[in-house]
């Protein structure tokens, strides 16, 4: 499918990091940038990224905090190759590693309770014949919850995102695996719009008690990225001005 398409490097505009991608479109979606910002990182954190794709989340997390160890799991070999190229290109072999495997087989891939943070930008579109990175053909919210419950130490956190309208379903699935939802942030395009995305943090074995953060809106007005979004994108100037 994508074999003939030429590889290129894309600059993450973060600590000089670059990522390999194929084709003209960007290597990553807005979701990944928002999720990497939403996760609270601790020093020396051991992190697992479920469905790491071309490795965008590990790179963005490393850009925020260098003293981390990230293990990414990815099913699709072509993406795994890109991720490994990016890790080598940035010289991050000591910080990020990616392994090939199915999130549903996590028990045979990685040890139990070995991580303090599990992160995932899971597929949430519903076309069973669609690209498994984006559609729930190979990996459901249930699979993510099950894998996180295996990988996390007690009190460990899971950070995921989902469409805003699926957040109750996500919370229910997490709750079944003793993952209590502790922090939510809804994301909308404009301040007066209904949110389209929800960023979710759950903690394994935690008691109830939920913090709903102020809603994030991406744009202040036509073509104007909001201050909050500019901070997340590590941008100084207004987005529209340079394009």
């Amino acid at each position: 499918m994508s074999e003939q398409i030429e590889e290129r490097l894309e600059d993450l505009q973060l600590c000089g990091l670059q990522i390999y991608t194929r084709g003209k479109a960007s290597a990553y979606t807005t979701d990944a940038v928002l999720l990497a910002d939403f996760a609270q990182l601790r020093h020396q954190e051991r992190i697992c990224d479920l469905g790491t794709g071309s490795g965008i989340l590990p790179l963005l997390l490393y850009g925020r905090e260098n003293a981390i160890q990230v293990t990414g799991i990815e099913l699709q070999e072509d993406l795994l190759i890109l991720a490994r190229q990016s890790i080598a290109h940035n010289g991050l072999e000591g910080y990020i590693r990616v392994i090939q495997g199915d999130v549903r087989d996590v028990r045979t891939l990685l040890p139990q309770k070995a991580f303090s943070l599990v992160i995932s930008n899971p597929p949430y579109f519903r076309d069973p014949a669609g690209d498994p990175s984006r559609h729930q053909s190979q990996c459901s919210f249930h699979d993510i919850a099950l894998a996180a419950a295996w990988l996390l130490n007690n009190g460990g956190r899971l950070c995921v995102c989902c469409p805003a309208e699926q957040v109750l379903q996500m919370a229910e699935v997490l709750q079944e695996r003793r993952l209590a939802v502790k922090r939510l942030r809804f994301v909308a395009s404009f301040a007066d719009r209904a949110p389209y995305l929800c960023l979710v943090e759950a903690r394994l074995g935690a008691k109830e008690g939920l913090a709903v953060l102020p809603q994030l809106h991406l744009y202040d007005g036509p073509g104007r990225l909001s201050q909050a979004a500019r901070t997340i994108y590590h941008m100084e100037q207004e987005w529209g001005e340079t394009r």
């Binding site: 290597a27 104007r224 987005w239 394009r243």
Partner: protein, 55 residues
């Protein structure tokens, strides 16, 4: 039904990676292939000028 990008498009490219079916192509303004569009609205969610709309 499919989404269509209006001439309000500023060709910023924000929508292109969001599309789960790779239906969006680059151009003076970006264009959605109606045959590939699954009406999810992912492009509209991230558009800074509200250019994609259901048609």
């Amino acid at each position: 039904m499919a989404y269509k990008i209006s001439d309000a498009c500023i060709a910023c490219g924000a929508c292109q990676p969001e599309c789960p079916t790779e239906a969006i192509t680059e151009g003076p303004i970006y264009v959605i292939d109606a045959d590939k569009c699954i009406d999810c609205g992912a492009c509209a969610n991230v558009c800074p000028v509200d250019a994609p709309a259901p048609k």
